[in-house]
């Protein structure tokens, strides 16, 4: 990622979330007490049916939502609100429409008061890395969905966060674009800080409902149950990095997929009937 590696583990301890009820209905429990620890440099995918509380969990880690109970710590610091140490890419297109691609990428750098020369250097690096050269002066509305999400990824990475939070970032893209974006993200992550060792990578927490996407990207897949969400299974993805798209055709991939499909189908059915 040509940026300093992540150094601090993420600790999610006993995090719950309930939403106040409407009218006479009691509060709705969205998230049962959840524990999860993510080591520095890990790529963890949170997989679950829609409405299972996986996005809620990610938003709590980001500090955009407050847990009803439990704590989130990044290293020794407890998360009490959003901050630039936890960069995020959303499913919806959240580029600032009044800023060009370049100014969107520089947003966090301007906020931190990074010197102009350094801003230019970082901008050039991430424009190149995400294949956006030539588009730096475009307005977001002139870009395709895939390019908007590439810009959003560059914007989050340029800020050099300790951990990258991705909330179904490719969920609104068509299938082919989604696969290209997965490969781009994986390439950037696998590069790490250029030191060539596995530890030189950023910590990533990736929420998705796409089984293939989870296996292809993550070194660990956390499966969540239907609402109220809880972690029902954790599956190590023992496929070695660096991975390429061909890995999706291997028997190991198929075996993992079969296992995760079994876990997920049960939850999807419960969510649909329940």
């Amino acid at each position: 990622m040509a940026a300093p590696m992540s150094a601090y583990p993420l600790h999610i301890q006993g995090v719950t979330r309930s939403f106040p009820g409407q009218g006479k209905a009691g509060p709705t429990l969205a998230l049962q007490p959840t524990d999860l620890t993510v080591a520095p440099g890990e790529f963890v995918a949170i997989l679950g049916p829609s409405g299972c509380g996986k996005s809620t969990l990610l938003r709590i880690v980001a500090g955009l939502d407050r847990p009803s109970g439990g704590t989130v710590r990044l290293g020794a610091r407890e998360v009490t609100g959003p901050g630039p140490d936890r960069g995020m890419v959303f499913q919806s297109y959240t580029l600032f429409p009044w800023l060009t691609v370049a100014d969107n990428i520089r947003y966090g750098l301007v906020e931190r008061g990074v010197p102009a020369a350094e801003q230019r250097e970082i901008l050039a690096r991430f424009l190149a890395r995400t294949g956006l050269q030539g588009f730096e002066n475009h307005w977001p509305r002139q870009l395709s969905g895939g390019m908007q999400q590439r810009t959003a990824l560059a914007r989050a990475l340029a800020n050099d966060p300790e951990i990258l939070l991705l909330d179904e970032p490719f969920g609104a893209l068509d299938h082919q674009t989604r696969e290209l974006m997965q490969e781009l993200l994986l390439e950037i992550w696998q590069e790490g800080d250029g030191s060539g060792v596995a530890g030189g990578r950023k910590t990533v927490l990736f929420v998705t409902h796409d089984i293939d996407e989870a296996i292809f990207l993550a070194n660990r897949v956390v499966v969540m149950s239907a609402r109220p969400g809880r972690i029902k299974a954790e599956v190590e993805v023992a496929l070695p990095y660096p991975r390429e798209w061909m890995v999706k055709t291997t028997p190991e991939f198929a075996a993992l997929k079969a296992r995760l499909m079994g876990e997920i189908r049960e939850e999807v059915r419960r969510a649909a009937t329940g």
């Binding site: 901050g83 936890r86 995020m88 959240t94 307005w139 800020n159």
Partner: protein
Amino acid sequence: MRPLQPVGAGARIVLGALFFALFIGVWAAVTYGGVVPALFLASPGRALASGWALLAEYGFAFDIGVTVWRVVGGFLLAALVAVPLGLLMGAFKPVEAFFEPFFSFARYLPASAFIPLLILWLGVGEAQKLAVIVIGSVFQLVIMVAAIAGGTRRDLVEAAYTLGSRPLSILRRVVIPAAAPQVAEALRLVLGWAWTYVIVAELVGASSGIGHMIMDSQRLLDTGQMIFGIVTIGVIGLVTDLLFKAVNRWLFPWAVL
């Protein structure tokens, strides 16, 4: 014709001009045809001739200048108060809770009903004219700007937070730029209303301005002058509206207005 199907640029201009022609045609027919006596409605030619006389002999250009100055002055004063306050109300809910109920009440107070009071307080000078326009537009504008700022996309605010923005920079770098194009559109609307208020203010206790001229013409039963005055306001309104639109497009190229 199919529903919602766009019309070409050329056809749009032709159709728009056609209605103007039709309007003037009917006007000419009823006046020159003697359907309506000249005492009540001057013919198009008579209105134009009266207008020429007004401009050439009675210094009507000065009246136009005075009225434009009042509109712009009152409008700018109202905008200077309403835009910052509306942005603060939209962004910070306690500020909104403090002002909103009163302003929602105040915007229904008819500005023209204040004219007698304002004459008592401020006399018949420029301050009174400006005050009518400010009272007529400031409350409406505050409420509109607050609603625009309050409607800032939450996901953009959240994205800014995850990039390290603090509350004040959320206001400066997200809420204000996001609201700017719609606020400019609201200003364009309010400028139109300011034209209504200024004429009302000039109909009472004024010694200059387009409204004053229209009142004078009524005494002389010169419907040609009255019509020319009204049309002048319409033309100025149309031109400023087009200018305002062009400026907004130039200022906010990123937005689809």
